[in-house]
Each structure stands twice: as structure tokens, then as C-alpha cells.
Symmetry: C2
Subunit: 214 residues, 2 copies
């Protein structure tokens, strides 16, 4: 009868997820939950009843809780999804010296919360577990987690994360007098590794370390 109706019927689950995601983003941005109308506006639903239906679905899925009658009384069941500390968190990407191109796979094992204000920016940082004893004289032990700042250059003497033929490794970068470089393990038992920039690459600089023992 009316041609004001002009919507394509969407999949429930997808719309429901969209509602949930909007709530999540809204809480992160504002610190409190959105109203039903705000959610509708945010996900492109014009009727409050439609949104309300989705909310009730989310409740029955146990993803949110609502208190009847109260305004904006939405609580997220899984509050850990709040990015509350989106900064100050860096991803743990795996273990060094495993023969995989780590940064490519972006296989996030976990997010590490760092103490606030330790670093000015943690945006281009990530963490890696270290396997092996090649850096013990630099006080990096087997099993330690190193914090790495992503960058493609480094000074002589800095401990870097280097890529050698698809294999990542932590070593000290030494610039020789003849202009060439080599990688130096901090353990007398290991030999230096020539660093030829063809298949070698600086992935970042080690700027921190975490060690957790029982």
C-alpha cells in the first residue's frame, strides 16, 4: 500500500551481531550504553521495536543483560571485549626462531597488558617469546618474552629482531668499519652471522623484556 517501505530483509544473526558490535563500540567510545533509538540509527534500523527485538535476542543468547524499565541499562556479559586499554596492549605473536615468517601470519597468541605510561606509544610494538640461549650475555634467557618496536633501521650495538631467509631471530646488530654489518649473538658459543641486506631484513628493535617463572 505504501511505497515508503524499502528495506531488504537481512539475516537475523548478522543484524544481531551488528547491534552487538554497535553497543560494544558505543560503550568503548562513551563509557555508557546507547539507547534503543541510538542503536537503530547506528545500524540502520528505523524502528525501535526492531532493535528491541534484537536486544531481547541478545539477552536470550546471554551476550548482554538488560534491566527492565531502566534507561541505557545494558550490561555486556563479556566485559573483556571492552578495549578499555586498547593502547597499552601489544600482541604476543609467537616464538622467535620458529622457521615461520612471523609478521606475515599475524598469529596473535595473546594480548599483553603493559603498565600504563611505560611507553609513549605502543602502537607499533609487539611481543615475541624467545627460544634458545644465544643471548644470555645480554640478559635474555630461554623462555623470556621480548618487546619489539617495529622499525627497519637500527644503530650498531642495538639488539634487533632480524629476518634471515624467512627465519626470525634476536641478535645484536654490529656495523663494521668497512660499512658492512653482522649479527652477533651474546654467547661465546655462537659465531657471528654476516648480514647481507639481500635476504636479511631488520624487523624491529628490542625495547623491553618480560620474564615469568613459577
Amino acid at each position: 500500500m505504501k511505497d515508503t517501505y524499502q528495506f531488504t530483509k537481512a539475516n537475523v544473526d548478522e543484524t544481531c551481531d551488528a547491534v552487538y558490535d554497535y553497543i560494544l563500540a558505543y560503550v568503548n567510545a562513551n563509557g555508557y550504553a546507547p539507547s534503543v533509538r541510538e542503536i537503530g540509527r547506528g545500524v540502520g534500523l528505523k524502528s525501535t521495536s526492531t532493535v528491541y527485538g534484537h536486544l531481547k535476542r541478545l539477552v536470550s543468547q546471554n551476550r548482554i543483560e538488560m534491566t527492565e524499565g531502566k534507561r541505557r541499562a545494558i550490561r555486556l556479559v563479556d566485559e573483556s571485549e571492552l578495549t578499555e586499554a586498547a593502547h597499552d596492549e601489544i600482541p604476543l605473536l609467537g616464538t622467535v626462531t620458529a622457521g615461520v615468517p612471523i609478521l606475515a601470519t599475524e598469529n596473535i597468541e595473546a594480548m599483553l597488558k603493559l603498565p600504563q605510561e611505560t611507553y609513549a606509544s605502543t602502537e607499533d610494538m609487539f611481543a615475541l617469546r624467545v627460544r634458545g640461549d644465544s643471548m644470555v650475555d645480554a640478559a635474555i634467557l630461554d623462555g623470556d618474552i621480548v618487546l619489539v618496536r617495529k622499525q627497519s633501521t637500527a644503530d650498531s650495538g642495538e639488539i634487533i629482531l632480524a629476518l634471515l631467509e624467512d627465519e626470525a631471530t634476536v641478535k645484536t646488530l654490529i656495523r663494521n668499519d668497512d660499512g658492512r654489518c653482522h649479527l652477533q649473538a651474546e654467547n661465546a658459543a655462537y659465531a657471528d652471522i654476516p648480514f647481507e641486506s639481500e635476504d636479511c631484513k631488520i624487523l624491529g628493535v628490542v625495547c623491553g623484556l618480560l620474564r615469568f617463572r613459577v
Copy 2:
């Protein structure tokens, strides 16, 4: 004129703090902020305008933020006060080898957030910044932060925090064959320290390490 009035005039700051604490507790309990009337009921104020006044004061103190017109639109500026991560946080108490009885003063410099689920319990843990190079061979450098689990006994070979005549220090505990103990620095330049239990005490065992460099 009326004898219905029956209140004792309280200090503003105290009442203000009470309002803030109530909001904090409410958000922790419910996941969303309380209404003005709920706050009043919670802290014992009968008029919404009184509560509203305190809220405006909290806003001007930059402890909360409010969006005008919206319901329950209170955001806590310092969201870290939410108990959500009350565990997994340990206090940084100071620097070792400063000649003060550290644990007694309980001088908390900062709270360190540890990655979740690293330790079963962080209840009896604290952190200390290490000064000196006496433990470099155990991969503990000057400036590192050690994580210590409070306990009064330790096995031979464990790295402990010991109290020597009002001075705290990090060393390896060695139990000799004759039943006596000594403290051993992990640096050839330092001599062993006899450990006589009269004025020596085990404060805890080192169970982790953080290193942050620029």
C-alpha cells in the same frame, strides 16, 4: 517553618566522594551507571537537585563526564578504578638496595598490570626495581623490575629477596652441606654473603622480571 527538615550539614568533599564511590560501586555491580535518584537513595540524599549539584562538582573536578539530556550517561574518567582488573595488578614498592625496610613503609610507587592468567594468584606478589649489577649472570640487569612472591622460606638455588640488617637485596640462596646458608651474587666481582638467620630474613622469591627500555 517546617520541622520535616532534619539533616546534618556535611562537608561537601566528603559527600562528593560518597557520591563518586557509589557510582563506582554501582557500575561495578551493574555494568551501567546509576540514575540521579538512585544515587540519592544510595548515599542518603533526599533531593535530586542536591545529588545533581554534586554530580556537576564531580564533572568540574574532571572525575566524571556527563552528557546533557541523556539518561544514565555518566562516564568515569578514571576507568582503571573499575575492579574488573583489581587482581592481576601488583604494587611497585620501590628500589632494592635502598637502605629502607621496604615492606614496612608500603610506599606504593605504581600498580603494574600483568598479563592476565600469567600467575594463578598475584595476591601476595609485589615488584621492585633493581639497582646494581650484582645479578647480571642471572640475567637481571640494573634498572630491571623483579616480581617477588612473598614467602619466608626458599630452596637452595632460588633467587630471593633477602633482608640484611634493614637493607633489602636480591641474591641467590645457597644451602651449604653443613646446614648453613649463604647468599650468592651472580657476578664474579662480588663475594658471597654469609646468611645467619638472626638479622637475616627471606622476604620472598623472585618469580618474574620486567625490563623496559626506550
